[in-house]
Amino acid sequence: MQNPIVIGIDAGGTMTDTILVDKDGRFKIGKAATTPRDEAEGFLQSAEDAAEAWGISLDTLFSGVNVVLYSGTGMLNTLLSRTGRRLGLITTKGTEDMILMGRGLQAWSDYSYADRLHAVTHQHPAPLVPRRRTHGVTERVDQFGDVVIPVYEHEARTAAKALIKDKVEGICICLLFSHVNPSHEKRIAEIVAEEVKKANADIRVYTSHEIRPVIREQSRLNSVLIEAYATSRGRAQLEGIEAISKSHGFKYGVQTLLSFGGLTSIKHPRLHETMISGPIGGILGAAYVGKMIGNDNLVCSDMGGTSFDMGVITRGQTRLENEPIMDRFKLNLPTLHLDTIGAGAGMILKVDPLTKKISLGPESAGSDPGPICFGRGGTEPTIADCDAILGRLNPDYFLGGKVKLDVAKAERIFKQKCADVLGVPVHEAAEGMIHMLETDANNALRRVISGQGIHPSEFSLFSYGGSGPLHLAGYSRGIGLKDIITFKFAAAFSAFGCTTADYMRRHAVSVQIDIPPTADDKALSVFGAKVNDIWVDLTARAITEMEEDGHKKSKIRTEPFLMMRYTGQLEDVEVIAPLRAVKTPNDLKTVIAAFEDVYEKINHRVSRYGQAGFSIAELGVVATADKVKPVLIKHDLGAADPKAAHKGKRRVYLSGAWHVAEIYEMDDLQPGNEVVGPAIIEHPATTLVVHPKDRVRIDEWELLHYKHAG
């Protein structure tokens, strides 16, 4: 076997997963607990686990690879724990309270439905800059970019001095309509820089037009603040990862994943774009595998210890969300769309002694202390404990035997805290708990699918994440999906997905170009020139940034896009431009036609409404450069009998009764094999439960297809 050339690592809330890929796309995975205080520790343990699986040392691994991809939680934790930098803010006079007012929905965005209605629980997230370090400067640019009031420079200077005196570590500048005309932001930034220099202070200046020149000032403000607030520590974590990789012989720079699905170096100038990256990997991986096996209507489902993430890919197209919410801050950062509910194997179970009401979570036992059965000091029963009690998890083969599960202890505490309170036998109670979790996930999946307006029978379900296969049978039952697929590398699927991404930059700017339906060729060429100028400018910027990252210009592909709508509508549609430049009126007509095509696909043919005219709200460019990716290898189908993978029998509680289940080793299953339940298919990092009479078939790509009986 050749040595790996790509390492992909995904640090989640509970586990850090590693995938190693060699030149031919073969891969192995590793796993270790996430270490939030110093992520480098978990990173190294996880990499070591994978290296061991490959049969090489860490030094051999790191000195041989070309690419190290890391997606972590450092920045998000900085934001959640409010341990970021001390910031100051300069804004248009009169809008200083914007930061305190926030968006109304930020006060309840991650609440349950009951709490959304329960207004007394609404609470704005603590601001990243206190009001006393927010300074207003008299100036005004209107929505057309015209200067209404010039910058009062003396006010900017006073504000800068006050902030320097306040010992801030970063100064953010966010003015109204700076995405249309940034001249005032630029001037204030110059003044601040002069004052900082005079005071000989070490303060970085961030301007909103550089970070994200996109309409809607609250989201723009949040983007600038989060970039300034959280990324320095996040960058330090990433630099720690890079340093430790280099100390083991790695020769290049570490890469990380962008929320819209590309890779970038850890020197990325807008590092907040990498903050929501973890679950994105799964969607990328699913889209990639889907394309490879010729299946492009997919529902992805990722179940780990804490959350259940779902994404939809329709006709190979992933969905971008333009204003996602991160820790209850609304950002204008394009992000692959995911739906998430709290549901995972680490969920803590509680039973109310009076009402006998059972609640799952929302707290998760995480990796520290973890479920009771881990024996690391956990005292609250979790779903994973139920899985262990029912024999679904092999106590001697969890993480390949690295963690011995203390089933007796789990059973004792579960009996005392849950089963006895409910007054039902332990095994019945444990299965009931699992059933509740799977029902939650099942309902969420149905909701996500029906939200697409497409019938479930057209979709295949991809299931991954450490506990995805464990609960797959339950959460996919009865939906009527076309196919249900899981993977031998399910536990590291997100990390796998990261390795399928290309290097990417996305530059976009808000515009207001309204094309009337009656526009003649002369008018169209004026509009076209406007569009083209911005594309040329953005393309140059994207290419420069990628070149700075060490990509050869000849390897960089650029693709312009537009956010368009019929004039008067409130929502945009993203349109990939059908041509690289708009030079003639006909070119612009081609672009408009492309918009109408996309619009028709998303909505319906009869919803076209060109009579209203067309508005372009945003212009952008995506630049990409290729990278080695893992491939799935197609094998010949062999016999159906899976005896080569058979490793024993075990008593397992399924569907209300004890069964003697056949146990198989997942990695030893061959293409063509078919396993009939009751059975357990084990992997060091995951477990697939096959319910009685259900079937699992291994296809020529070594993917596992789950088929419910009857």
Binding site: S112, D115, H118, V120, T121, Q123, D352, P353, L354, T355
Partner: protein
């Protein structure tokens, strides 16, 4: 039913419980014995020994004193029979001109003193601001509420009034 320890309720009342924990309590069903725990915590916080029957403000309580029930401040000052408006026995500062209103609203627009005045009710014992009223000038002092103690204990708490 949820159940919280006395310590948690004490921190809740003191405003020292972290927000996520406070939120969890707010979102959950109310515990059956919350009233008694709250009263016990409040009783611990005051220096006097009369039994608290009902808290009616941040610093004010209706307490059992011998055979009478009176309104009492946490500093110990007594306002007399709880059925009488305690405000009448408080020190009152009325802000009815621009200068005094400006102290409250240094940076913003003011109400017109001909149309509205602010009445601050201050404890004669500890000078704590107990209540503020915004009324048109001449409007009688508002009796905020007169609780039906007997009915509350009998029908809601299901225990006899001490």
């Amino acid at each position: 039913m949820t159940n919280y320890s006395q310590d948690v309720i004490r921190d809740l009342i003191a405003g020292e419980l972290p927000w996520h924990q406070t939120k969890r309590i707010m979102s959950a069903y109310k515990d059956d014995d919350r009233f008694f725990k709250v009263v016990a915590v409040l009783q611990d916080r005051v220096t006097w020994t009369e039994q608290i029957l009902l808290p009616i403000g941040e610093h004010l309580f209706i307490v059992q004193k011998g055979k009478t029930r009176i309104t009492k401040c946490d500093c110990g000052h007594e306002f007399g029979d709880y059925k009488k408006n305690w405000k009448l026995a408080a020190n009152i500062y009325v802000r009815k001109d621009k200068r005094s209103l400006r102290e409250i609203y240094p940076n913003s627009d003011l109400c017109h003193p001909d149309w509205m005045e602010l009445r601050e009710f201050i404890c004669p014992g500890c000078a704590t601001l107990l209540e503020v009223e915004a009324c048109p000038p001449g409007y009688p002092i508002v009796h905020d509420f007169q609780p039906d103690l007997e009915g509350f204990y009998r029908d809601w708490l299901k225990t006899p009034l001490p």
